[in-house]
């Protein structure tokens, strides 16, 4: 209120406010001071410089705002600067990850990487074709298992069991399933195959089961949401024509929501294709191409990245280069899937009105 009375006595609406250029000026001054201090005292550490610059900026603005505008406005400015700072801080790891993966991954991002396996390769050369095939097989199989189960469950939740006890239980446990740690899913698949086939079984199919446990809840959640978006008028129109409920669902509800369903499935694939821990347990390691999903360990791309990094041979650099190239491939696949999923969702969004 002091600011207000101050403004009234001054007889101007703009007095008692910091001028608009105050923020950029303080930012530039803070940056210069921060970098200077970092060079003098911190040996030119960039992180320290940015941190100091930010702190100097915060303190300067706080003092200026408190003196000229009063404590309430100062608090408002402080909150805004902290919030913007938090956002910029989060961009740091994102930029760093993308930069490092690009710069380190390009070294082996060549034709050999996509045409050779690691069979009989020690040191340089070799590639990840066995892992890429494995990832496609395992994720494909997981999709084949999860989509029917997930979609049918979503249909049950949205169309049949509306607000009954079973659907409430399913909704709750689907939520619980979303939180199952990925490594536990791997242990489950390993234990299941151990009982069904024999102890110590590792195969691509086992990996698919592990991924399905992680993928089903994602598919259920996204599909259910989309089925609920389909306007009830469409269903009622079909019923009025004497179409049975199941045909209404198959011929009317699903086609209306199809784009969203497809994009939901693609996003679910993107979510599990980068999973490492369950495949480490359930699908195992191998250096060779394995085209049989049901026997012998199968290499996958995330496990390849982990294995190349964690168990390098004598020529460490060659293994690490392959690990980064694998990481780059993986990121590209996941981002591509995300992009496709979002594009489909946006372009063909169901017309609810």
């Amino acid at each position: 209120m002091t600011a207000l009375s101050h403004a009234i006595t001054q007889g101007s609406l703009t007095s008692g406010r910091l001028p608009k250029f105050a923020t950029p000026v303080a930012a530039v001054a803070g940056a210069i001071l921060g970098f200077a201090l970092a060079v003098i005292f911190g040996g030119g550490n960039l992180g320290l410089a940015v941190l100091l610059a930010y702190l100097i900026f915060l303190v300067a603005m706080e003092i200026a705002a408190r003196v000229i505008e009063g404590p309430r406005q100062a608090a408002d400015r402080r909150a805004r600067h902290l919030i913007v700072g938090a956002f910029l801080l989060a961009l740091l790891p994102l930029a760093s990850v993308i930069f490092e993966v690009l710069s380190k991954g390009m070294a082996r991002f060549d034709i050999g990487f996509f045409t050779q396996s690691m069979r009989n390769v020690v040191g340089k050369g070799g590639g990840a074709v066995h892992a890429i095939y494995g990832t496609l097989y395992v994720t494909g199989m997981a999709t084949l298992i999860s989509v029917p189960i997930g979609l049918l469950t979503a249909i049950y939740l949205a169309e049949y069991g509306i607000r009954n006890r079973l659907s409430k239980a399913i909704t709750f446990f689907v939520d619980v399933m979303t939180g199952v740690p990925s490594i536990v899913a791997g242990l489950f698949a390993y234990a299941l195959m151990g009982l069904l086939v024999g102890p110590g079984t590792r195969s691509g199919f086992s990996g698919s089961i592990a991924l399905s446990v992680l993928m089903i809840p994602v598919v259920v959640r996204s599909s259910e949401e989309l089925l609920r978006l389909v306007p009830n008028e469409l269903r009622e129109a079909a019923y009025a024509l004497g179409v049975p409920k199941w045909l209404t669902i198959v011929k009317v509800v699903l086609p209306t929501a199809i784009s969203g369903l497809v994009s939901g499935v693609i996003l679910a694939i993107a979510r599990v294709i980068g999973e490492t821990a369950p495949l480490l347990i359930a699908a195992g390691f191998t250096a060779s191409l394995n085209n049989n999903l049901f026997a012998n360990p199968m290499m996958t791309l995330p496990v390849f990245v982990f294995d190349s990094y964690a168990h390098p041979g004598t020529d460490v650099q060659a293994y690490w280069d392959r690990a980064w190239a694998g990481a780059l491939t993986l990121i590209l696949i996941v981002m591509l899937l995300n992009l496709i999923g979002r594009l489909i969702a946006r372009r063909f969004a169901p017309k609810t009105r």
């Binding site: 919030i83 399933m177 740690p181 490594i183 993107a270 821990a277 982990f306 990094y309």
Partner: protein, 325 residues
């Protein structure tokens, strides 16, 4: 003929089915059965997850401690406790870092960023969620750990009297604090997107009323947005916690872990997590050791189950009582 004619409508009226599945059209029953069966299958799968872990982990849970000492990793509870501590400790540290940042980002996107930029900026943060955990592990151990070293030595030399920062600083930077930063980065998009959603749901009229009474934007957020969003924020934090507890690869690749309970953040003696222990030892394990690792997985499952259930319960309670619906 007339009798026949007149009997037809009567007969069809008698055959008029009660509402329910038509016996001549099995499609309905089959489809309904399929959908219900899929739903029940999910319950069965979850029950199977728990029971298979119990069956395969059981031998270690109920084995003679002496036998475990020779054929396994040692007595179960004393073996798993440090790892359970490490799991919770790393996840809590990650939360401590991630929550303020995530809430800041969510507020930035929902209430500060220009309207047109909000959506793309949200996607930018979601990109973080698209980075696979193994890539974060690679990045954390190769890039982040060395970069954290100067900070660690500074913290240790200037704040070493605080137990958290005491001890001999790790030479590689692969400490639990680095792990916490990586985990925080990984759970950031989850917490952010959930918080963003609840912030956007805050009643418009309350916000405008606060602004009309002369509140600054921050006061408006404090008075109208945050109280409304608190249950949603708690749930988001719990879900982030659940993810951090179960995260495997980042910890496996970044942490040089051991089996001890310590609060020191900067030394090379870090408590390992359950998930990382399983991942690191599973390939070489056999017999009782495998059982013991699976039993550890069961412990992890129960911890995350508890955390997630609490989160869901908070969400459900809010959905029932909030004025939003």
């Amino acid at each position: 003929m007339t009798a026949k004619l007149s009997s037809t409508p009567v007969g069809s009226a008698a055959a008029q089915p009660k509402p329910g599945p038509d016996p001549k059209r099995p499609g309905e029953a089959v489809f309904r059965g399929l959908a219900t069966g899929a739903g029940i299958l999910i319950l069965v799968i979850l029950a199977l997850v728990a029971s298979f872990l119990l069956i395969q982990g059981g031998p270690a849970l109920f084995a003679d401690p002496a036998k475990l000492a020779t054929q396994g990793y040692g007595e179960f509870v004393s073996w798993v406790l440090p790892f359970a501590f490490g799991t919770v400790w790393a996840a809590l540290l990650a939360l401590l870092i991630a929550v303020p940042v995530a809430i800041g980002i969510a507020l930035f996107i929902s209430h500060y960023a220009p309207r047109k930029l909000a959506q793309p900026l949200g996607y930018l943060i979601d990109l973080l969620a698209a980075v696979p955990s193994v890539v974060f592990g690679l990045w954390g151990s190769v890039v982040l750990a060395p970069a954290m070293l100067p900070l660690f030595t500074t913290l240790n030399s200037s704040l070493g009297f605080i137990p958290l920062f005491a001890g001999q600083v790790s030479g590689t930077g692969r400490t639990i604090l680095t792990v916490a930063v990586v985990l925080a980065t990984m759970i950031l998009p989850i917490i952010t997107s959930l918080c963003r959603e609840v912030f956007l749901q805050a009643p418009r009229l309350h916000e405008e009323a606060a602004l009309a009474l002369g509140a600054t934007r921050w006061e408006m957020i404090k008075m109208a947005v945050l109280p409304f969003a608190r249950p949603g924020m708690i749930a988001a934090v719990m879900l982030g916690l659940g993810r951090a507890l179960g995260e495997t690869m980042a910890v496996t690749m970044v942490l040089s872990g051991s089996r001890n309970i310590t609060l020191e953040l900067l030394t090379s003696q870090n408590p390992n997590t359950i998930a990382a222990t399983i991942a690191q030892n599973f390939a070489e394990a056999f017999g009782l050791k495998t059982s013991q690792l699976i039993a550890a997985g069961l412990v992890l499952f129960l911890i995350t189950l508890a955390v997630n259930s609490i989160a869901r319960w908070i969400v459900a309670r809010r959905a029932q009582y909030s004025g939003a619906n």
